[in-house]
Structures are given as C-alpha cells and as structure tokens.
C-alpha cells in the first residue's frame, strides 16, 4: 500500500521534470525585450512625475535623455547567444531528468526509510494506555491489600510493590514500601540497599543523608552487598572524593569471585572515575577470568514459562552445570557457597554439606573477619544440626 503511494508520488515528481517537453520551446522572454520594457516604464514614470509636478521640466528632460540612451545601448548590445541555435532540442535531457528523479529518491529511501513502521496517533493508543492503567491499578490493589493486612502485610509483598514502583519511577512510593520492610526484623541487606536506591532516585540522583544511613545499614548486615558498595562510592564521589570512590569500587571488584552482572556497571563507573582522577582504567576481564556464567537472560525467560516439573528439571540442570564447573575450578569460594545454597533449596542435604565444606576449606585462607565465614558456619550448623 505504502509503495503504491510512493509510486504515485514518484510519477508526479517525474511529471514535474518532464513538463518542459510539452511546452512550446520558443515562448521565452529574452533580454532585449525585457530590459527595454523596464526602461520604457521608467520613462513613463518620469512623465507621470512631471505631470504631477513632482519634478521640474529640466529634470524630466535630463532623466528622459538618460533613459533613452540606455534603451538604445541595450537594443544595440543584444547578442545572438540569447536566441541560441539549440532552442528546439533538449528533449533527451528532460527525459533523463525525469528518470533520475524517482531513481535517486527510491535509492535514498530504500537505505534510509522505515516503510514498515506504522504511524500511531496518540488517540489510537487507548489500549496501550489501558494496559498501563491496569498495572497502576494492580499496584494500587497490592498496596491496599498490604496496607489493610492486620499483620502489616508480608515483607515479600512490600518488596515486590517497592520494586514495581521503582520501575514506574514512583520513587517516593517505593521509599515508603521499602521503609515498611526495613523497620522489621526480617530486613535484609538488600532491603536497605533498595531503600537507598529509591531515596537516591527520589532526590534526582543525590545521595541524601537518609540514603547514606541506609547504605551504612546495608553494609553492616552484608559487607559484600555490591549495590550498597556502589552507592557508598557514589556518596563519596558526590562528597568530592572521587579517588576514594574509585578505591571502594575496585576493592569490591577484587573481592569478587567469578563474573556477575553487577560487575559491568562497576567497571563503567570506575572508568568514568578513572577519567576524573587519572587512575588506570579497568576491564571486567581483570577480575573475572571467564565470560559471563550462570543463567542468562534467555534462561530466566525460559524458566518463567515452564510448568512446575519442567522448572525443577531446569533448575536441576543449572545446578549440575555449576557443580561440574566447580570440579574444574575448585578455588571458586562464592561458587561453592552458591552450590551449597542451591542443594539446600533442592533439599539435598548431603550434597549441600559437601559444598559448604569445600567453601569452609577455602575460607581458611581468607581474613578472620570475612563475613562469609559466618554464613558458611551458620549454613553448616543448620544442615548438620
């Protein structure tokens, strides 16, 4: 359909280029007619001015003389160039032009056009807006349910609501949702770092004192929380200490074991700081020896659409993949901890204990105050006790 419209337009354009072919080729104004006409008119104007008494007779006479002289010189000077001999030809040129016009336009358009993108007026997009309104509505429903729950609503519910608000850019609402959970005993490090993120969002990117307090709290619970460290560095940077921000981020990267998605944003941020501080730039490969591992975005999307049984199998296969990788790289402390946790979730106690034990062995080399010691010890106690 659209190409039909283009074709019609191209034909019209060609017609514009072709039109001269049909014109009588001699009806052109030439100089020796046009110039004297203007001068003759000037002559008439002088006479008119004289009639009206605007100029004196002597002035008029002088002016007339001068104009007449000019008319004569124009007539005498008319050259043959203007009556050119080729007056009758030129059809081929016009036809060539008429072919060139659509060819060039189509050539340009096939490279740069977007014929498949439909036009979509705002008025026609009611369903889309209805969908958005539905999400807003669902968030509202969730909010009401949590609010009216005599027990204050489940923490998971509030966290989900907060994250939904974050996606809708309703930072103030997100802050309230996360705060509800933060006040509770089951608040995790993640609760506090998300609260910090929401507070920063609500203040147009500024790490306000409340956000700083939340970051501190998140790091108290889990010193390895990458989000909390990230925002702690942001706070330093906004306080004017880019060097300290740089150090915070690189130190955390050094502590990382294997690739994780957050490392990309770390590296991007570090390199921006590197520019400001003159410190060296870094790359993800400096800290993680291998390419991204773990479930890819596609894996996650796949898992979402699976039935209960399929999902269990899927998780099983992921765990097996992790286990076999750790056989090859037995020094990956975080990997062993993740595997232990996975077995724990799958209720495979024996395997879980084994994985955590491997982690414990590796931890002997780690610092005394490494928070992972506590996590592993607690996990082993729970599994054995």
């Amino acid at each position: 359909m659209i190409w039909v419209a283009f074709l019609v337009m191209a034909l019209v354009a060609s017609a514009f280029a072709l039109l001269p072919i049909f014109r009588p080729d001699t009806a052109a104004v030439i100089r020796s007619d046009a110039v004297p006409a203007v001068l003759a008119d000037q002559l008439e104007e002088v006479r008119r001015d004289l009639d009206r008494g605007l100029i004196s007779a002597a002035e008029a006479k002088a002016a007339e003389l001068e104009i007449k002289k000019r008319i004569l010189s124009v007539v005498r000077r008319t050259t043959s160039e203007e009556h050119g001999p080729g007056a009758g030809g030129g059809r081929a040129g016009a036809i060539l032009a008429a072919l060139f016009v659509p060819l060039m336009a189509f050539g340009y358009y096939t490279v740069n056009g977007a014929p498949d993108v439909p036009a979509l007026a705002f008025g026609e997009r009611a369903p889309e807006r209805a969908e958005e309104a539905r999400i807003v509505d669902l968030a509202q429903q969730l909010h009401d349910r949590l609010q009216n729950d005599p027990n204050g609503g489940a923490s998971e519910g509030w966290m989900l609501l907060g994250q939904t608000y974050m996606r809708m850019q309703r930072f103030e609402d997100a802050v309230r949702a996360f705060e509800t959970v933060a006040d509770r005993s089951d608040a995790t490090s993640a609760t506090w770092s998300m609260l910090a993120e929401a507070l920063i969002g609500a203040n147009a990117g500024t790490v306000v004192p409340r956000a700083e307090a939340a970051i501190e709290r998140a790091l108290e619970i889990d010193a390895m929380n990458p989000a909390a460290t990230f925002y702690a560095a942001l706070a330093e940077s906004q306080g004017g200490d880019d060097a300290k921000a740089y150090d915070l981020l690189t130190t955390r990267l050094t502590e990382a074991n294997g690739y994780a998605a957050w490392m990309d944003s770390y590296v991007a941020r570090i390199n921006r700081l590197a520019q400001a501080t003159g410190k060296p730039r870094v790359a993800v490969s400096d800290y993680a020896s291998e390419a991204p591992r773990g479930p890819s975005a596609a894996d996650v999307a796949a898992a979402r659409d699976m039935s209960e049984g399929d999902r269990a199998d899927f998780i099983r296969s992921m765990v097996d993949r992790l286990a076999s990788r750790l056989e090859a790289e037995p020094d990956d402390l975080d990997g062993w901890m993740r595997l232990g946790n996975a077995y724990k979730v799958l209720n495979e106690r024996k395997n879980a204990i084994e994985a955590y034990s491997r982690a414990q062995e590796l931890l002997e080399a780690a610092a005394q105050d490494d928070p992972r010691r506590q996590i592993v010890e607690k996990a082993l106690r729970d599994l054995q006790g």
């Binding site: 419209a5 280029a17 014109r23 001699t26 030439i30 007619d33 046009a34 203007v38 040129g93």
Partner: protein, 666 residues
Amino acid sequence: MIPEIGHFALALALSLAVVQSVLPILGASRGNVRWMQSARSSAIGQVFFVGVAFAALMRSFVVSDFTVRNVAENSHSLKPLLFKIAGTWGSHEGSLLLWVLILTVFGAGVAVLGSNIPAATKARTLSVQAWISVGFLSFLLFTSNPFDRVFPPPADGSDLNPLLQDVGLAMHPPLLYFGYVGFSIVFSFAVAALIEGRIDAAWARWVRPWTLAAWMSLTAGIALGSWWAYYELGWGGWWFWDPVENVSFMPWLLGTALLHSAIVTEKRDAFKSWTILLAILTFSLSLLGTFIVRSGLLTSVHAFAVDPERGIYILGLLALSIGGSLTLYAWRAPVMEGGGLFRPISREAGLLVNNLILAAATGTVLFGTLYPLLLEALTGDKISVGPPFFNAAFVPMMLVLGLFMGAGPFLSWKRADLAGVLQRVRFVAGLAVLVTLAVWYLISGGPFLAYVSILIAVWLLLATLREWALRIKFMEAPLSETLRRARNLPRASQGMTLAHVGLAVAMIGMIGSSAWKSEEIVFVTPGTDVTIAGFDVTFTGAERLRGPNYIADRGRLEVRRDGEPVTTLYPERRSYPVAQSTTTESAIRSTLAGDLYASISEPASEDAASGEAWTLRILYEPLVNFIWLGALMLVAGGALSLSDRRLRVGVPRRTRPHGDLRLPAE
C-alpha cells in the same frame, strides 16, 4: 504511513533540486530554451514536495504521533492545539524544514511571478537557488531527519515547556525565517548576474520586490520577537543584544542597506557591484545566523565540539556558499560597467552615506556577537559583550544615520541644491530643537545622550513629514490640489514616507523606555505602598488559583494616581507541575504614554512560611508601545511600496505564430 510519505517527499524534493541545479543553468549557457524553462516546473515541484513533507510533519504533531522521534521529543498530548501546530517548527529539525520550505516558496515565487524576467537570467537564478536547496535538503536528510522513527513509541511526549507556549513565539520563527531565507533569492539573483556578467537597472527592478518582501517579514519577525521577550519573559526589556537577536538583526541592517542601494542601481545605473556585494553579504549573514543558532555554538563552544556533525555540515555549506560567491564576485565584479556619475551633494551620495553607516553598524554588531565566541573557542574564557558595548558603539552610528535620513529625501538625483535643501529644512530643524528643549524642561533628568537622541528622532519625524508636505504642496496649493497630489503620489514614495516616520516613532519609543524608565524592586506584604512615576501602587495580597495545567499565585495591586483609582493589576507566578517549571505572568497597564509593568516572584525565603511576603518588581516604561507602533509602520511602508504597480512591469511575450499551440499538459 503519513510520516514515511513526508520522508519520501523530501527525498523527491532533493532529487528535483539536483535536476534544477544543473539543467536550467546549462540551458542558459547553451541557449536551450527548454532546459531553461525546466526551472519553472522543477521549482514548483520542489515547493510541492517540501510542502507535503511539512504537512506530514504538522499532521504528526497535531495527532501526537510519537512514533516520530521529533514529535516525541518536542511535543506532548496535553499541549493546546495551537502549540502542537507551532511545535512543527519548534525543534531543530522542524525549523530547518520550515527553512527549506520558505527557500522553495521563494524559488517557486520567482518561477511563477517573474514573467517579466528574461529566461536566461531566470534560469540561472533558479539554478543558484536550487544549489542552496540541495545543500539544505541534504543537510536535513542526512544529519537532521525530521522523520526519524521510534518504535515502540514512548507513552507520551516529553516537552511541555510553558515558556514557549506563547502566541508571539509561535509566530516568531516563521516570520524571521521568511526574512532570513527570503534574502536567498536576492543572493541567487546576484550570483546569476555575476555568472551572466551583466547587471543593470532592469536587474535591480526585478530583484526589488523580493528584497522588499524579505525585508518586511524580517522586520515583522524581529519586532514580534522583541514584543514576546517584553511581555513573556517578565524582565521588562524589549531588546537584550542577545546573540540570537543579533543574528537576525544583522541581515536586517544589511538588507536595509541593500534595499536603498538597489534603488540607486535601478534609477541611476550606479552602485552596481556594491549592490551585488550587499546581496551576497546579506544572505551570508542569514546563513551565519542559521549556523550560530543551529549548531549549538551559542550554548557552548564545547557542546559544539562534542557533537560536531551538524555544525561541521552547516559550516561547510557556509564556507562553500559565502566563499564561492565572494570568489565569483572578486573575479567578475571588476568587469561590470560603471554607472552614472554624481556629485558629493546628491541623492546618490546621501544613499551612499546610508549604506556606509549601515554596513559599519552591521560590522559592529557582528564583532560584538562573534568576539565572545571566538575568544571562548581560542582561550576557553567565557565573556559576554553586553548592552554597554552596543550602546556605546552602535547607538551613535544610528543617530548619525537619523540625521542624514531626515535630509536625504530632499536631495535630488545627480546633483542637489544644498542651499535650497537647507532652506526647506530650516524650519523643521528649529522646531525639533524647540521640542527637545521642551522635553528637557518638562523632565530635566536622564542622560544627555537621551536628549540628543530625542532631537534626532523628532528631526527625522518632522523632516520626513515636511518632505511629504512639499510633494503634495500642502499649504502651498488649494486643498483639492493637495488631496489630488496625495492620492496620486507613487506608492513607493508613500511607502518610503511611512517607513521613515515609522523609524522615527520607534526611535522615540526606544529612547523613552530606556532613558526614562523607572524601576522599583521591593519586598512587600499586604498593605505595602509603592510610589513609581507618579503612580501609587498598593499591594493588597496574593491568592492561590488553579489553571488548566498550572497553579498560580496571583498578586493584587491597586493603582492610583493623585488619589484617583486608575486600575488593578494582577501579576501571577505560575507553576506547571508536569513540566516542573514556573513562569512569570506580568501584569501590564498599557497606554500610549507608557506601560506600568508589575511582576511578582517567590515569597522571599525568610518569611516563606507565612506566605504573605513577596518580591514585587514594578516598572514604568514611558512610550514603550511606540516601538511596536513604529515597527508596524515600517512593515506597512514596505507593503505599500511593494504594491506599487511599477514593480509589476509586464512585457509582451515574444511569440511566434505557432506559439499559441498549447498542449493540455501545461
């Protein structure tokens, strides 16, 4: 589909422009009438397709089609319809599309209306016009495509800038562009004349209506822009010597010089190469203005360096067109025959002085505008050349110009009778001095320069009227004779009188509102009295109101003079929650004698809690409306002159016997 049709139409327009840039000029040099005449249909085709593209973009704005990136970035579904339409030319891409549309309108205008122009001259002119078209259409398509698409579209547009939602501003760019770009056709005529190697009185006449049309719209555009700044920005000034203003003012100054020098070329066959140079330079300044405004150079030299693609492209176009035309000028101008001779005291000499002053003034503004930019580019220092520079350098030149302008129309061509002229103006000169002394006596304040300026403005006004009176033999002949003469005076001459009077009137407004302006900025609570320029103003409080898409704090000011109530002013401060911005809506009591202008700002922070304390800015600007009245007269004068039948000289078509055989295709 509509946006893609617009996109394809632009591609077709570019193709037609390419054809038009080659075929007609080739035809002119080979004497091929058919090729020469192809300019006509391709110029019409160009304006048609650019028009289709413009309509497609406008439609996308009107229905808020956010699949078009330009619409998504520069509009919003909640904008009032008028501003959706104005949004079409609000953005970089849209304004360039408007630029090209006007360029093609002028090209097609000459193609259709210029039936008295010889085919060869017309063909060359239209080819040169098409070169500019090719440059700007390709700039549009390759660096600033207004039909870039986004899919899926964002939920709503992202621009609701309330400051830009103003009728004055909506109309400002089209008018300015009409002036700016209108000078393109004059440029094309000049380059065509250089290529042809011939320029004469007839050439000057063919160009004159186009120069006038461009000059009129530029005048209207500048006046409208200053009017908008005055009423909307809430600063109480009407001209800020801001670079954006300057780049539109420079082509105006030089265009005014061109208008006058073309008269000499037309009447006396003189000033020919100077007229050509002015035509080239005027459009070059328009291009320079487009470059400065569109490249982002103004925001910051560094912003330009970060994303230089667009700037470099325009810079290339600029170098090519200005450099190319000036080279051509240097090569061809010396071979043009000289024109009529004249004495030092003559109409020609007067117009020469006019031209020299206007050119010097343009140079001054150019220097003041470019110097800070160059300095920033070279050293990184940011300085601003402000009103003090322009007032010291530019204003005196204009005063000298005013002095000559009053006397100029009395001078006759070739050689003028100085003694006779002096005798004729003696009376009005004396009257002007008396008026100035009277003003001094009445006001006895303000800078000395203001009185000199008043003297010159009054002189210009009276001398212009005196010259008109002489022409119609006012008080010298019976009334019936005077009326007959007034009716029969050529419109071009009536237009001149009106425009000169308009300038004098505008000058009076400018002087009055700058020299005798009173201003009070006070901290007010309900019940506070302020006295300004003989008015007693009482602030009686502020209330909160809700508008359609804003919340306003509206102050109430009771104005009295000598105890008698005059009016009540309601200045507002509006905040727009969606756009998260605030605007000042000043309240103005406007009379011909002057404007009483009030605006309120945020409550001063200390007492913000009480909400009762406001910063009130109150101004009295005497005679300020004379500025726009004068501008209106300038435009009307131009229109009157344009309507003169002499500008529409027709010539008999040279037809051979079979010339009447017309095919239906035509």
